[in-house]
């Protein structure tokens, strides 16, 4: 996982303001949760229920097909796992030790 580049205090805008709107994509939230989310493409039906329900836009989709997880932002909340309809589930949370 690539690392977010942290700025020095001299480089910050006054008052903690955010001047470049929509910059939240630059903020790494993927390292908040020590657990990891994995996707099993062999069972996935590309129903995209995970994509609809993910609160962090961390399900990557191309041409109406799921193509993976955005590890830089995924907080491993588990909502996508909950809604995934396949049996067995096509999304799985693996614990820190295993990851």
């Amino acid at each position: 996982m690539k690392k977010e580049k942290l700025k020095k205090w001299q480089e910050l805008p006054i008052g903690g303001l955010i001047l470049d709107m929509g910059n939240s994509s630059e903020t790494q939230t993927g390292d908040w949760n020590p657990n990891r989310l994995v996707w099993h493409d062999d069972t996935c039906t590309h129903c995209l229920l995970c994509w609809i329900n993910c609160p962090d836009a961390s399900i990557k989709v191309k041409d109406s097909k799921m193509i993976g997880i955005d590890d830089y932002h995924c907080k491993v909340c588990g909502i996508c796992v909950e809604v995934c309809p396949t049996k067995p589930k096509s999304l799985e949370i693996i614990s820190e030790e295993v990851a």
Binding site: K7, W9, L12, I14, G16, L17, I18
Partner: protein, 403 residues
């Protein structure tokens, strides 16, 4: 430096006003975009008089009579972030109730001015003057200016906008006067012409106003541990730049009005061996006592601290290093510290001196307790005794306390 025009000099007015009304008069001339306030004794009169100016159409200000001080400061934050020139007025419990939002204002670097009529904090409930309210917020990132009388309250209110809005400072400023002693005392003071004040404060140019919808900006984002310290360090820049700006604004104001201001004011300090350090109204009484004592051969002097935050440590040390004994008068309790807040600062400022004077601390005037001149005289006599014998005695004591 710019001087007032002849026309303006002729239209100076000498008027009799209470300290509260002196501030209200400055506010009328400043004509802020937004004033949000919830009146509290002893600054109520500022809000009442200003509300009348609004009702009479003498100002263009959007006056927001909020339901509490917490709301007042919150409204001020919104208005200032929106890009307005903003002011509020409070003190004591009202200031305490604003506490949560005070750090938001300074953390967001919103240039705003707050007038305070200093008043004791509960309990016991007390509506009279002391500095425990503003001293409780001394580290909230606001610049503190303390005023000796109504004239200074008027002058400081006007200068405060120039200091707060300076691009290198961008930090909120509070202007304090002593509750009742100054807020309700009628004094004759000089009110400058409206156009001079208008020209002096100038047009306000907000940086990153939220109402500039073509350039959207986010105020009040959250920080995790990886950024909070960097933001707090960058906030300090305003404080570090403030002393120079406070002095420069004080000089410029002096050139226009004849009344010059600095970080501190010295009174008969050139050859003083015994000095009192104090803020606000009591400085006036101390000056009177000094004049009497000088007649009696006591080399007494005064160092009045005008800017308490940022604390002018260098100026204080320089002024006091020539003395033999110093008494710092704090109008605020110690709260379990080694002394009052002013005392702690002064003593720390003298630490680097090779042969510092003996420094003692007196707590005085809590909850409006009077400080008769004879008590101030006693302080000087004790200072002379300390210098003579080298015996400091009690470090922290109370003035005019029954015991």
């Amino acid at each position: 430096m710019e001087k007032g025009t002849l026309e303006e000099k002729k239209s100076k007015r000498r008027v009799s006003l209470t300290g509260d009304d002196a501030i209200a008069e400055a506010m009328r001339q400043i004509n802020p975009h937004v004033v949000a306030a919830y009146p509290i004794t002893p600054s109520t009169q500022v809000v009442e008089s200003f509300a009348r100016f609004v009702a009479d159409g003498l100002v263009d200000t959007e006056f927001v009579a909020t339901e509490s001080e917490h709301s007042a400061m919150s409204a001020c934050v919104g208005a200032a972030a929106g890009g307005g020139r903003v002011m509020t007025v409070t003190g004591s419990q009202g200031l305490a109730y604003m506490f949560e939002v005070l750090g938001v204002t300074s953390g967001l670097r919103l240039p705003m001015v707050m007038a305070i009529a200093n008043r004791a904090l509960n309990s016991p409930l007390n509506i009279h003057g002391d500095h425990s309210d503003t001293m409780a917020m001394r580290d909230m990132g606001w610049i503190h200016l303390y005023s000796e009388n109504g004239q200074e309250a008027y002058d400081n209110t006007i200068q405060a906008f120039r200091i707060a809005e300076n691009p290198n400072v961008r930090t909120p400023v509070l202007v304090a006067i002593d509750g009742f002693q100054t807020s309700h005392m009628v004094e004759t003071l000089t009110v400058e012409p409206d156009n001079l004040v208008k020209r002096f404060i100038g047009e306000y140019i907000a940086s990153y106003p939220m109402l500039d919808i073509d350039n959207p900006v986010l105020y009040g984002a959250a920080d995790r541990p990886d950024y909070y310290m960097e933001h707090k360090r960058s906030q300090l820049v305003g404080m570090i730049n403030a002393p120079e700006v406070i002095q420069q604004v004080g000089q410029e104001y002096g050139a226009l009005t004849g009344r010059y201001y600095g970080l501190v004011e010295e009174y008969r300090m050139e050859d003083a061996e015994h000095a009192i350090v104090v803020m606000s109204a009591t400085a006036g009484s101390v000056k009177d006592v000094i004049d009497q004592l000088r007649e009696e051969g006591v080399t007494a002097g005064l160092l009045k601290v005008r800017a308490f935050r940022p604390f002018p440590a260098e100026e204080v040390a320089k002024s006091l290093s020539r003395t033999k004994s110093v008494a710092v008068l704090d109008r605020c309790g110690t709260g379990g510290a080694q002394g009052g807040p002013l005392f702690l600062e002064v003593r720390a400022a003298l630490y680097e001196e090779k042969s510092p004077p003996q420094v003692i601390n007196y707590i005085y005037g809590l909850g409006g307790r009077d400080l008769p001149l004879r008590h101030i005289k006693d302080v000087y006599l004790r200072l002379r005794e300390i210098a003579r014998t080298g015996e400091r005695g009690k470090l922290v004591d109370f003035l005019n306390l029954r015991e």
